[in-house]
């Protein structure tokens, strides 16, 4: 079935005619490109658009299928647990995002400027890949062996050196720190890899010229390298914010959201509402709200991307 055939049944004659005109005005190469994109668009519709429509529909209906207007949204937004979960997620994001970006960037600059051996760079590359490819549940289990109060490695070391046990996962501030360090351990290498790749694109002539002029390391970074890295930093921020919103596995394994609600992040809260309380209406309303907020947020962030990358 051609695109012309598809448009013939739209019912909107003017729209169909306009589309036909647009279609026929394109070159053969462009038409081929668009046809090749169709499967991808289809996939996007199946895995993103349809579930979103389902979520909106579920958010507007009760369990028995009756339309309930915005009642599910009202219930979702009025729940004090949502505010708590949002607050904890913000705290978590405020800890992990700057730390990962600064550490990853610092490491990339260090390796870029000091390591010249290709073999060692490859070795670092492989080492950086390892945390990224480990399933998050496995990471959670491993770090439980690190942080557990009575059999964890950290407390064993502390005990051997004559110190008291620390309740890493039960004291609220330490529990947040503990789950955040797991995230930082796993995802700093991701930031490193992207920043390091970005640094390879920096013009060597510019750097050498700056060095000849006596520019300091900071000045080199501030005035030359950062310009190349800025879009990549935004890209990293894009991915990491999305990941922070979805953080689940290692937190679930380590603390289950506790102590109290200290590590009860949005994703864990949503999971509870949807799958433990079987309240799909409220969960869908929450998902729609979060998606709308993130769409707005990403639209704002994307204004800072260079025009050609938008």
């Amino acid at each position: 079935m051609s695109v012309e055939d598809l448009t013939a049944n739209t019912g909107g004659l003017a729209f169909g005619a306009r589309l036909r005109t647009t279609w026929s005005a394109r070159s053969g190469q462009e038409r081929l490109g668009l046809r090749l994109l169709l499967p991808v668009f289809g996939l996007v519709v199946v895995i993103a658009t349809i579930p979103f429509i389902l979520a909106v529909y579920t958010a507007l209906t009760s369990d028995s299928g009756e339309l309930v207007g915005l009642r599910n949204f009202e219930r979702a937004l009025a729940n004090p647990r949502l505010v708590e979960a949002f607050k904890e997620t913000l705290i978590y994001a405020a800890i992990v995002l700057p730390t990962e970006i600064l550490l990853g960037l610092g490491l990339a600059l260090l390796v870029h400027r000091t390591v010249r051996s290709v073999a060692i760079r490859a070795l670092i590359y492989v080492a950086a890949m390892i945390p990224i490819v480990i399933p998050q549940v496995a990471v959670g289990v491993v770090f439980r062996l690190v942080y557990a109060s009575d059999y964890g490695v950290l407390n064993l070391v502390l005990g051997k050196s004559g110190h008291d046990q620390i309740l890493w996962l039960s004291v609220p501030s330490l529990a947040m720190f503990s789950v955040a360090t797991v995230d930082i351990w796993q995802w700093t290498p991701f930031v490193y890899l992207i920043m390091f790749a970005g640094l390879q694109t920096v013009s060597q002539e510019s750097v050498e010229a700056a060095q000849v002029d006596g520019a300091s390391s900071w000045a080199q970074f501030r005035h030359i390298e950062l310009n190349y890295l800025r879009p990549l930093l935004l890209l990293v921020l894009f991915f990491r914010i999305a990941d922070v919103l979805r953080v689940f596995d290692h937190v679930y394994v380590l603390t289950g959201g506790g102590p109290g609600a200290t590590t009860q992040f949005l994703s864990l809260y949503l999971y509870d509402v949807a799958f433990k309380f079987s309240d799909l209406g409220q969960a869908s309303a929450l998902a729609v709200v979060v998606m709308a907020a993130m769409t707005f947020f990403y639209t704002v962030i994307s204004r800072f991307l260079p025009a050609e990358r938008r």
């Binding site: 349809i50 009575d150 039960s170 506790g258 433990k276």
Partner: protein, 436 residues
């Protein structure tokens, strides 16, 4: 009509997507429940279905029917069943259900009434075992939407689980009769190497399961008969104080992050004096391989509270038949076969936890299962069940979060009672309950 068809299609689509997302499931997949000579059972992964798996070859030999046991972890199983029932999916002929799930499945009319398939009560099985599988519940508070329904049997217990109490009989030969004794012993036995009481205090379900027998034994509760929240009354606050202040003062160093496995490990290593315990944990964990406390632990019913009554908690696993199953009679025949005395004995010999009183009191089984006679008595007591509402998971989340915050030192016992009660009230009112 159009809307309901559309919704059915949507639900089916969601189930397909969710089924694709399910992880950690083991067991062979099913081709659907339609074929004769095969029953597909959705089971929970763990010690709870060990006996069921042992019965599989026996049933094949006895009746020529294959059992396809599809295992899922606890949380996955619940989600899977909810989605499967919503989509009217015929994959499963039998489903294992934790008893707090009965209100959800009963309210949603997801299961077949078993009496109509020839399953009748047997006096050798405690009345409470039948009652917990009955919907709406024959006693206690009934959800407003369910009051007009006629009670029927929708689940039959296959794991007769009642929370009990364990203590080190080698350290104190006399069993604690009351929670006063429990505290006195805890203080006396608490030292650097042994915790006076092992608290299972991890957030949500673990801490609530540990606490409810204490709450009930102190005369407190979550709801009264009319769904009014009483979690902040005097008796409930006393029980919360007992857990968060008295017992915590003698507990292991990290009670707020301890689940059943941690408690059992400490008990098996000789680092705990006493705690509550589920039957399923006894042989596999507390007295399992590598234990240092073999023959040193005694099992007793829950000690008495200030009112002179000790109240255990049920955690029965039941078998039910989904309405969509195409093999309903064959599934019911399996349940009947499983409840027979000789099958129950084989089941018990293979790590199953029976519910038949004569089997629990069978002296030939007592050596390997020292808690069986206590379990028989605990079932006759009878124990309490968790409030029969489809909102229980949300209620448990609220209670468990605040109790855990109390154990972590974030909230005082009074805060726990007040905040949890207020949140539960809001939740229940929103769900249409006449809660005050």
């Amino acid at each position: 009509m159009k809307v309901s068809r559309f919704r059915a299609a949507l639900t089916a689509a969601v189930v397909i997507v969710l089924a694709g997302c399910q992880g950690g499931t083991t067991g062979s997949s099913s081709s659907g429940g339609g074929g004769s000579g095969k029953l597909t059972i959705a089971a929970v992964q763990g010690v709870e279905d060990a006996g069921l798996k042992a019965l599989k070859p026996m049933y094949k030999q006895a009746k020529g029917v294959d059992l396809d046991i599809v295992e899922s972890p606890y949380d996955d199983l619940y989600t899977k069943l909810v989605n499967s029932f919503k989509a009217n999916d015929a994959t499963y002929d039998l489903v294992m259900m934790d008893d707090p799930w009965m209100p959800k499945f009963g309210t949603d009319n997801s299961l077949v009434e078993l009496g109509a398939l020839g399953i009748s009560k047997d006096p050798d099985i405690a009345q409470v075992v039948w009652d917990v599988g009955t919907w709406p519940p024959p006693r206690g508070a009934v959800p407003p939407s369910e009051k007009s329904k006629t009670p029927g049997l929708y689940g039959v217990t296959i794991v007769g689980n009642v929370e009990m109490f364990m203590y080190r009989k080698d350290l104190t030969p006399t069993a604690p009769a009351s929670y006063d004794d429990v505290l006195a012993n805890a203080k006396a036995q608490n030292n650097g190497g042994v915790a006076g009481y092992l608290i299972r205090g991890k957030a949500t379900n673990p801490v609530v399961a540990d606490f409810l027998p204490i709450l009930w034994s102190f005369g407190g509760d979550v709801f009264d008969e009319n769904w009014n929240v009483v979690f902040d009354n005097q008796q409930s606050v006393a029980a919360i104080n007992y857990l968060l202040v008295d017992l915590k003062g003698t507990a292991q160093p990290d009670p707020a992050n301890a689940d059943a496995a941690d408690r059992d490990r400490l008990m098996a290593a000789g680092q705990g004096y006493q705690s509550s315990v589920w039957p399923g944990e006894v042989n596999t964990a507390v007295l399992g391989e590598g234990t240092t406390v073999k023959d040193k632990v005694a099992f007793i019913p829950i000690p008495k509270g200030p009112g002179g009554k000790g109240v255990g908690m049920m955690g029965n696993w039941m078998l039910g038949i989904p309405k969509a199953s195409k093999n309903q009679q064959a599934a019911a025949d399996f349940i009947k076969w499983m409840l027979q005395a000789d099958t129950q004995k084989s089941y018990a010999q293979n790590n199953g936890i029976p519910s038949r009183t004569s089997v629990l009191k069978d002296s030939s089984l007592a050596a390997a299962n020292p808690y069986f006679p206590v379990l028989a008595d605990a079932l006759q007591a009878p124990p309490n069940w968790r409030p029969r509402t489809d909102q229980w998971n949300a209620v448990e989340k609220i209670l468990g979060t605040h109790l855990n915050a109390g154990l972590a030192g974030q909230e005082t016992p009074q805060d726990v009672a007040t905040k949890a009660a207020a949140e539960v009230r809001t939740l229940m009112k929103g769900a249409g309950y006449p809660t005050q």
